[in-house]
C-alpha cells in the first residue's frame, strides 16, 4: 500500500466529512446572524451547552443533568421497548411466514396497524398502564415491531425449496425444523428487520419523552424549549442524531458479521 492511497483514504474518511460539517456550521452561523435571530449561533450554542457536554454524567437536578446521563435514560427506555417489540415481532413474523392461513387472517391487521404514529399509541398506553414509563415502553414496542415482523415473515417465505426438501426427507420435527432450518435461513432477513426496528425505536423515544415529560434526551429537549433555552434544542438534536447513527452502525456491523458467518 503506498502513501498516496493512504492519504486518499484519510481524506475520504475524515477530511471530506469535516469539510461538510464545516459548511453546515457556516450556513448555520450565517442564518442565525441574518434572518433568523431567534436561532442561537454555533458559538452561543457551544457556550450554553459546554456544561452539559464537559460534565456529561453530572446530576444537578431531575431535569438538569449531563447529556450522556440523559442519553443513558433514553437508551434504557428504548432497550425495554425494543426488547418487548422483538419478543412480540419474531413469533408473529414466523407465523406469518410459515402459515398461509395465518397470513390471510392477520396480514390486513398488520398493514393497518403498521402506519399508526407514536403520537397515537402513547395516549392509549397511558390509559392502559396509568403511568408514563410503561406507556412509553408500550409505544416504542408498538411502533418499532413492524419491520421485524415483515422481514421475519419475508425471510421465512424466502427459504429455498431445497432446504425445505432436506427437512422433509429427514422428517425433522416442527421444533427441530424451526431451530435447524427455518431460523438460520431467515436470520439475515431478520437482522435487517432488527436494524430498522431499532431505528424506529430511537425515533419514537423523543416523542414519548416529550409527551410524558420523562427525563431523557427528548424530555430535556421539550423542557428547554419551554424554558426558552434554545441552545439546548440544538444540543439535543445533535445528540439524538449521533446516537441514532451509532446504533445503526452497530447493528449493521453485527449484520455484516452474520452474513459472512
Amino acid at each position: 500500500m503506498n502513501a498516496k492511497s493512504f492519504m486518499q483514504r484519510m481524506a475520504d474518511a475524515v477530511l471530506l466529512p469535516m469539510v461538510g460539517v464545516g459548511i453546515v456550521i457556516l450556513l448555520w452561523a450565517i442564518t442565525s446572524a441574518t434572518w433568523a435571530e431567534a436561532l442561537p449561533s454555533p458559538l452561543k450554542t457551544w457556550e450554553a451547552s459546554k456544561l452539559y457536554v464537559l460534565e456529561p454524567f453530572a446530576k444537578r437536578g431531575e431535569l438538569d443533568q449531563g447529556i450522556l446521563r440523559f442519553t443513558w435514560y433514553s437508551l434504557t427506555r428504548v432497550a425495554k421497548g425494543y426488547a418487548l417489540a422483538l419478543v412480540m415481532a419474531v413469533p408473529l413474523g414466523l407465523f406469518l411466514g410459515m402459515s398461509k392461513l395465518f397470513t390471510k387472517m392477520f396480514d390486513p391487521m398488520v398493514q393497518v396497524l403498521r402506519p399508526v404514529s407514536p403520537l397515537a399509541w402513547l395516549p392509549l398506553g397511558l390509559v392502559l398502564f396509568q403511568k408514563p414509563d410503561p406507556a412509553a415502553t408500550f409505544t416504542i414496542a408498538m411502533c418499532s415491531m413492524w419491520p421485524t415482523v415483515m422481514n421475519t415473515a419475508l425471510g421465512v417465505r424466502s427459504i429455498p425449496q431445497d432446504y425445505i426438501n432436506v427437512a422433509r426427507v429427514l422428517k425433522l420435527s416442527r421444533m427441530k425444523r424451526l431451530v435447524k432450518v427455518t431460523l438460520p435461513a431467515a436470520l439475515p432477513y431478520m437482522f435487517t428487520g432488527f436494524r430498522l426496528s431499532l431505528g424506529i425505536a430511537w425515533l419514537v423515544i423523543v416523542a414519548g419523552e416529550m409527551l410524558t415529560g420523562s427525563p431523557g434526551v427528548g424530555g430535556f429537549l421539550w423542557q428547554e424549549y419551554n424554558s426558552l433555552i434554545y441552545e439546548h434544542l440544538i444540543l439535543c438534536i445533535i445528540t439524538i442524531g449521533v446516537v441514532g447513527f451509532l446504533l445503526d452502525r452497530l447493528m449493521s456491523m453485527a449484520e455484516t458479521r452474520l452474513r459472512v458467518a
Binding site: D162, V169, L170, P184
Partner: protein, 279 residues
C-alpha cells in the same frame, strides 16, 4: 414383486389449457441391491421422476410403491442426492452429516452416532475438511458432503439426481470413479439419473433411456454386463462398452428430436434454479 414399483405414473404442471405433461405412463421396477441408471435428455422430467419416487412430489396418476407400501411422503428410507447439493450453508461437513444421523438413529448413543458420522465423512474423503462450511468447499467437495449425508442415513434406496451434473468435466471424471467405489461399498439399491451415457455404463447394472419431453416415456432397459470393478480408462478399450454405448445413444437419438444426447446442464424445475448454494 419388485422392491420399487412405479406403475402408470403421469405428472404435469399447470392446469387446463396451460397444462404441460412432463411424464406419461412411467413404469419402472427396481430390484433390491440393483443399481439402475436412467439416461435422458435435458428437461425430460428426470428430476420430477426422482422427486416423485422420493415422495417430495405426488404423481397426478399412477402409483409408486416401495416394498409393497405406497410412497406418499418423503422418508429417510429413501435418501436423495440432488444435483445442486442442497447443503445448509450454516452447517459444517460434520454437522450436515450429524443432522441426518441424529435424526435417523435417535436410539443410538451419542458416541455411536459420532463414530457413524466420522465413518461416512471418511468414506467420502472429507475428514480433513470436516469443520468447513459449504462456502469454503469446492463443488466436488460439496457434492461429496451431500453424498455422505445421504449414505449415512443408510437408506434402503438411494436416489442420485445428476449427482455430478453441476461439476466441471475433470472433477466429474474423478468423482465418477469414487462414486462407483462408494456405491459398491454401500451395497444400497441405487437409482441414478444422468445425462451422461458413460457415467451410466460405469455405475449401473441396467440402463433405461428416457425419451424427450413433453410427455416423456421410458424405453426398454438395457443390461450392462461389464465386469466389476469397472475402470474408466480400461473401459474405453472394451468392445462390449463401445457396443452398449452405441446401442444406448442410438436408442436416445431415435427417441428425441436432436441429433445426440445433450450433455449440458438440464433444465430443472423452477425451485431448483432459485436454490443455488451461496458462494
Amino acid at each position: 414383486m419388485a422392491f420399487i414399483e412405479v406403475r402408470g405414473v403421469c405428472k404435469g404442471y399447470g392446469a387446463g389449457a396451460a397444462r404441460s405433461e412432463v411424464l406419461r405412463d412411467i413404469d419402472l421396477d427396481i430390484e433390491r441391491g440393483e443399481i439402475v441408471a436412467i439416461v435422458g435428455y435435458s428437461g425430460a422430467g428426470k428430476t420430477t421422476l426422482v422427486s416423485m419416487i422420493a415422495g417430495l412430489l405426488r404423481p397426478d396418476s399412477g402409483t409408486i410403491t416401495m416394498d409393497g407400501k405406497p410412497v406418499t411422503t418423503p422418508s429417510p428410507e429413501r435418501g436423495v442426492v440432488f444435483q445442486n447439493y442442497s447443503l445448509l450453508p450454516w452447517l459444517t461437513v460434520y454437522e450436515s452429516v450429524a443432522l441426518a444421523v441424529d435424526q435417523v438413529f435417535p436410539e443410538r448413543s451419542a458416541k455411536e452416532r459420532q463414530a457413524h458420522v466420522e465413518r461416512f465423512v471418511a468414506m467420502v474423503n472429507l475428514t480433513p475438511a470436516r469443520n468447513k462450511r459449504p462456502s469454503e468447499l469446492s463443488g466436488g467437495m460439496r457434492q461429496r458432503v451431500a453424498l455422505a449425508r445421504a449414505l449415512a442415513m443408510e437408506p434402503e434406496l438411494l436416489l442420485l439426481d445428476e449427482p455430478l451434473g453441476a461439476l466441471d468435466a475433470l472433477t466429474r471424471a474423478t468423482l465418477q470413479g469414487e462414486l462407483a467405489r462408494i456405491c459398491s461399498e454401500s451395497g444400497a439399491t441405487i437409482l441414478l439419473i444422468t445425462n451422461d451415457v458413460d457415467e451410466g455404463l460405469l455405475l449401473a447394472d441396467r440402463i433405461i433411456p428416457l425419451g424427450v419431453g413433453p410427455a416423456a416415456k421410458l424405453g426398454d432397459s438395457i443390461a450392462v454386463t461389464l465386469a466389476r470393478p469397472r475402470d474408466k480408462k480400461a473401459l474405453n478399450h472394451e468392445p462390449e462398452f463401445a457396443r452398449l454405448r452405441g446401442q444406448i445413444i442410438a436408442d436416445l437419438i431415435s427417441r428425441g428430436p436432436r441429433r445426440r444426447p445433450v450433455v449440458a446442464k438440464p433444465a430443472a424445475p423452477a425451485w431448483v434454479a432459485t436454490a443455488e448454494v451461496a458462494q
